[in-house]
Every structure is written in C-alpha cells, then in structure tokens.
Amino acid sequence: MSLRRKTDRTRKPSTAWWNWLPIIPFLVITLGIMVLPLAFMLEGSFQSKEGFFTLENYLSMTAPVYTQSFRNSILLSGITAILGTILGTTVGYFVYRLRSSRARELVVTLCDVTSNFSGAPLAFAFIVILGSNGVVTLALSNYLGWKIYPTFSIYSFWGLVLAYTYFQLPLMVLLVLPAVAGLKQEWREAALSLGADARSYWRYIGLPILAPAILANLLLLFANAFGAYATAYTLTGSRFNLVTLQLGSLLTGEVLRDPGAGDAMGILTLLLMGMTILLYQLASRRARRWRE
C-alpha cells in the first residue's frame, strides 16, 4: 500500500519501472527465441570460417546457384501474388455484390476453411488431380485429346504457381472483402449522377480508393509465398531451386555448404521480407485513412 501511494505522488504510476516486471517473461522468450537467433545469424553472416570479419559470405551470394534461387523465389511469389490479387479482388468484388447475405457469408466461410488447406495436404491434392496420372490430366487427354504432360508438370515452376495460387486466392478474398465493403454505395451513385459511367467510376473513384488496400494485400501475399516451404518441398523435394528449399536442405544436411553463406542467405531473406512487411504496413495505413 505504501508503495502504491508513493507512485501516485511521484508521477503517472503507469510509467514506474516495476510495471514492466509482469511482461518480462514475454520479453525474455521473444528475445531468446526470436531476436537472439536472428542476431547471431546476422553476426554469422559477417564471419569467416575462422571467425574473422568478412564480406565473403555476401559476395558468394552472387554465385549462380544463389541468384537463381532468389530469382525463382521472387518470380514464384510475385506471379502468384499478382494472380492472387487480380483473381481474388475480382472474386471478392462479386462476392460482395451477391444479393443474399447468406450466400456471402457462406463464401466467406468456405474461404476461411480452404485457406487452411495448404502445405503438404495441398501439394498432395494437386498431385492427385494434376500429377502425370491425375484425374484432370486424364480427363483432359481422354475427352479433349489434350496431353498436358510433358509440357506441363505439377512438379515444375508452373505447377508450383498453380499450387501457390490455390492458397493465395482465398486469403486475398478474405483480405479484400472489408476493403470492397468500404466502398460506399453513394460514391457510385454520386459518380453516376454526375455523368460518369461504370467504367469512369472504377477508373477515377473505385480503384483509386481500393488501391492502397490492394497494394497492401499484394505485398502480404508476396511475403506469404516467399516464406512458404512445405508445399514446394512436398511437390519437388529439394530439386527445385527456391530460397526456402535451399535453406532447408542446408539445415537437413542434404547439401554441405559453408554455414556463413546460409546465414547471409537467411539475412537477405529477412531483409526482403522485412521490407515487404514494412511497405505493407505503410500501404495499409493509407488504406485505413480513406476508410473513415
């Protein structure tokens, strides 16, 4: 009690140092499990095998095997993020326009459920339908005479694009719905009464208002795909050269390379992800500004 009175007399009690005590366990765990490992990784990325400071690890990133993995990862994430954004926004818009609110809620629930279908089960499902003996593969060749193999393979880049888009799409629909719902009916009507047709409405009002939210969601999808591992691993093992697969095979010891390069690769990945998330935050802040 006396302690309490003292704080009241000094300043705001909320700023007293012992108020930080209860959250120390939380801070210790985040420090130990998240911050320190990454800090050591940063240190390791600047260390030679003998323990001296070096930039060698980063310079080695210019080797074709690494540049290719970054290029593949960025392409895969970029393409699926863009596909997910375009298709997801379109679907989200139509879902929003659905007359019956029950139908709308149903689609939202389905998106919620299917967004859980990812990783290994998803990869396996795509093998079932689009593997070399998959049901869709067979249907296409039997009924349409269109043999998609070997031009297409679910184990190839475009196969990955198809599988990644699968988990990007429902996520985008869920993300874009609140933004589309934020478009007021009156804006559309005001534009129409001022002589704008539907196209001018979208060009000058609808899309510009949605743009920050769409951009934010695009960035989130990019990060989502870039960090993904299980889907690609299940489909291609470590054969396909992606950043996460490279790092994974480094960890499981399938390939022996020097740990410094792994650290440098990890740090570069973190930088890329960090920047994406930062831009996402900026864009979504802007999106919120217009929603009020």
Binding site: S14, T15, N19, P22, I23, F26, I29, T30, G32, I33, M34, L36, P37, L38, M41, V91, F94, L98, V107, V108, L110, C111, D112, V113, N116, F117, S118, G119, A120, P121, L122, A123, F124, A125, F126, I127, V128, L138, L169, P170, V173, L174, P178, L220, N224, G227, A228, Y229, A230, T244, L247, L251, T252, D263, G266, T269, L270, M273, G274, I277
Partner: protein
Amino acid sequence: MKQRNLLGPASIVLFLVYMFLPILATYVFSIAVRWDRSILPEGLTLDWYRTAFQDRWFLIVFRHSITISAASVLVSTLLVVPTAYWVHLRLPRARPLLNLITTLPFAIPAVVLALGLIKLYGQGPLQLARTPPMLVLAYVIFTLPFMYRPVASSLEAIDIRRLTEASQSLGASWVRTLVEVIFPNILPGILSGGLLVFATIFGEFTLATLLVGARYKTFPMQLVYYTRRDGRIASAYSVISFTVAWATSLIILWITTWGTRRSSGRRSPVGRAGGGAPAGGKA
C-alpha cells in the same frame, strides 16, 4: 446488362470449383480402390484408412502432433494473455513495442527461424535446438500474431480500464474483477486465438521437420513421408489433417460470430478477415 449479371456468378462458381476440386479429389482418392487409370475411381474402399490406422506410427505421430499443438497453445495462452492484459491496463506505453513484436513473425519465414535457432542452440552435447520443448517455443513465437491479435482486439473492444474501474468502484477485488469481469469478456478472443494456433501447428511441417525431424515425428511429417511412398495412405492422412483443420476453423468462426454478436450486437459478414487474416508462412 445480361452479360454483367452472368459474369459475377460465373467467376464465383469457377473460383469455388478451383477451391474444391483438390479437396474433393483428395477425399475421393482416399476411398478409391484405384484412381490413376480412369476418370472415375475403380470402386470404393476403406482399406487405406485401415492400413493407415493399423500402422503403429499412426498413433505415435498423431499423439505427437496433438501434444505439441496443445502444449504450444497452453504456453502461448499463459504467455500472451496476461502480457496483453497487463499492457492494456497498466502499461500503454509498451503497446507499440508489443505490436511490433507480434508483427515481426510475419516477416520471419519458418525456415529462417529454424536456421537461427539451430545456429544459436544447436551446439554442444544437449542439442537444445532439436528438442520438442524448443519446437514448442518456436511455435509460440511463430504463432504470436494469431494469438495476440484476437486477444488484443477483444481487450480494446471492451475498454478494460473503465471496466476494471467500474468493477472496483462496486467493491470487487482485483482477482474477482479479473475472473468475473475481464476474463468472460475476452474469452472469445482467447478461444479463437488458441484454436487458430492449434490448427496452424497441427498442420505445420516446416519447423517440425527442420528442428526435430525424425527424433519426434509429427503428423504432417508422416504425411509427407507417405506422399513419396504410398499415395493412398497419404490421401487418408491428408483427409484427416484437413478435417482437423476445417473443424477447428469452423469452431473459430462460430466463436467469433458468437463473440461479436454478444459484445456489440451486430454481426459482420467479413468479421474475422481483419483480425487473424495474414495466415501465411505455414504453407
């Protein structure tokens, strides 16, 4: 006019087909005698489930996954809920820090987190990094946003400061306030956060395989193993894994709708999308 009317439903139907074809195919494959030579499966059977269940590994990996998921939910709840409560009540200055910390995991791919943990804790005879407890802690960090967001937003929704003051002004003790006033109000947030964490971890493959690997096999690890050995058993595993996931997410949806309906009286058709949306990383 007519054309536009068709475009909407058509794209929604196409979307639903794309979303359901793989799931449906997996379910059918798991009960098909054989489905790699013809368009329709050659007869139906439950043999693959029987084979899967009879394998002694099935129970082991299932138990492992449940144990790890439940332990992570428990640790996460005990760590996040009191912290969030305290910060909202007494330490508003720390809120930006907490927001930052709980957003960071979005930017850290599971592979990178595993790399860092093995780098720091993988040395020495103990090999701490490669133990189940370390996996649990990694999961707690990995799912931090899923746990913190719903709890924080339910704390914000009820203005706990005023509720605490109101309760105390009516003579309730600190503990009583917490148990009878605060906790029931944020329970939907805790439940949906916890279930989301559970569903995420139950299907998580990356951290599990990279950290502990064969030392402590989990359900998704066994599933990936079977995708290479026996597709029919893999499909049975897939179905079980997905069923657990969607059952959990339906419960979450039910809880959040129930929670928002109770606390604000209105019901948003897109309710959850804002809160736990960026469900990434686990793919």
